[in-house]
Amino acid sequence: MLKPTRMARVVIAGTKEIMEPTISTLHRMDVLHITDYLEDGEDFKIGHPLKTASELSEKLLSLRAISSQLGVSGKMPGEKISAKQLPSVIDEKIKKLQEEVTSRVDELRNIEFRLKEKEDLIAAVKPFFGLELPLEAYSGYGSIRVFTGFINAELEGRVSKITDNYELFTGEYEKRRIFALFVPEAFEEEVRKLLQDERTFVEIKAPALEGNPPVIIEALNNEVSELKQKHESINSELEKIKKEYSGFILASDEYLSVETQKAEAPLRFATSTNAFVIDGWIPAAKYDEIEKELKESTGGLAYITKSTDQVSVEEIPVKMENPGPAEPFELLIDTFATPKYKEIDPSAVIFITFPLFYGIMLGDVGYGLLVSALALAIKNKFRTGGLNALALILLLSGIMSTLLGVLYGEFFGLPIFNMVVHGELEKGILGIAAPAIAGINMPIHRFDAVQPLLLFTFVIGILHLTLGLVFGFRNVTIMHGLKHAIYEKGSWMLLLFGGVAVVAKLMPALISKTPVPTGNPVFAGGLLLAIIGVVLLIKGEGPIAIMEIPTLLSNVLSYARILAIGLSSAGIALVVNTLSKDLFIMPDGVLLGGGIGAAIIGILILVVGHSINLLLGIIGPGLHSLRLHYVEFFTKFYEGGGTRYIPFGYIRKYTEE
């Protein structure tokens, strides 16, 4: 918690004979973060991949091709296949699959191509339904030219001006006029010009087929349905293959990926003619285990030792270490930047503050329960990875919103308990008054308590910022010493506290127009602290740092969003409830007073309004809570820029060793 796992740098060396078992052991243990070897000296070169590497990648490539042709998805649950059985069958099965799948997929493409062709032909023949001529009548003449197409203008009169020797057929197709005009070759140019000048003319060519259009279409339709049937049957065959081989494909994919990863590992080692050296990091607690395992698998031939060479802090891989419930919050840290090895990992703090801020913002029993339910649904659908972590974060936030909702006494914007608002009693859902806790009347209604809540959010902000500065103080002390910490972070703390004391006394005086209480010990002390802070700041970071001082004020004010987001969400809920109830469902206090239709509109407004508000209620508080952490909190201490711990290994899902 707060600190990453303690790491140890190890160097593993041995002769090339034991390279393969060493790689296997390391891969299986999944703990070593390998530092890639950079060729700099003459003595050691970057290693070559194992001999099997190219063969394995080839197999993987063909397997993935098959897998994508079949559309195998990675969500197939099922029994794990033993990785030991796979090598004996994998070649044969991939070959068989390749034959079966590739030929069928080729056939499918072929059918699809022909289908397209036939469908195009049907579309081309259809317009000629309007003209009662067989298709062969449109072509094959020696001295007659044929024009066919759509036209939306009188044609006969204009053609007869050119020649009397013509034949014109007209008809209709989908409410457009289609025509076929036959003229002697001699008038071709003139008629063509006439048509080209006519704007409504669209030429269509008759396809080179024989027979009457309806007969042709019927034949074509038959062919199409035949092709479609074939397409379907091949598809179902492929589906069958997919069902049968899905497990095998996923397992082999995994097996081949693992083996390729192992075979290519030497690319990260330093090697000489006969030996290899692996440089890397492991969690310090794992050292004894890795030493023992290596000894067993190589017969004591591998040499492992802890290295004490100094390296820069950015190079040490960081493995965050947090108790289970706080672990998902590492995702939020990683999204920003991986912490440096000696830096504080704030996941455990965010685990508390993120849902708390979220809860104070959303604060509604109804929305809180819905958000929690949604989070549970996502969590059940995605068992691992980023979405699972997000769902857990959302779940905690939803629970917090529900709890705060009880405190605010809100259920979808409706009051849960009886309350007095503007001197009038408003009945709550439960119909009882809430008890007073510690002299404060429950529930705390947000619209009624804006002023105290606003002050409360500033207090939260000051505490949050102070925590950030304390972390920053600790980080700087560790990395650069106490003196720097006092200059860099101590100065800001003094400024913050001093500033708060000054503002706390100054504001009431300004508002009530009384003289500024310069003699007040709180005011004077605060001013003194702030001045010391400014002096330290200038000494530490130069006069330019004065420019940064107002950011402290904006940082504190920024926490007002905690109240603002909550008010707007509660406001929308109130508007939706009032609109639907007072206007549609119970106009003038009478149930269904406006008729069934109006009531239905009212219910629609209710459902749509609350859905939109819920959506905003998930995005808004989440983003703003995150922003308060990233922008206000992190800038006080967090640098990031560490290397993420990526152990050499593989998390097997479909195979087992």
Binding site: T335, Q451, L454, L557, R627, Y630
Partner: protein
Amino acid sequence: MVEPSAMLADPKGLIAIGAGIAVGLAGIGAGMGEQTIGAAAVGAMAEDEKFFGKGLLMTVIPESIAIFGLVVALILLFVF
């Protein structure tokens, strides 16, 4: 000359107008800030989807301005 009735206007009304202006102008300002950042963020995301988190974050940064407007409005409404 100022009409006597204008001088008698309820100061509460003026405060409410002031609060409205504070929120409204701050909102416009925040929106103007966000439009550029939002466009750039979408561009970055089109290049690499990993920028989603950072882009979203950058986009909401000017939202503080709107919050400041809101704080001023709340102080006007509830403190004065």
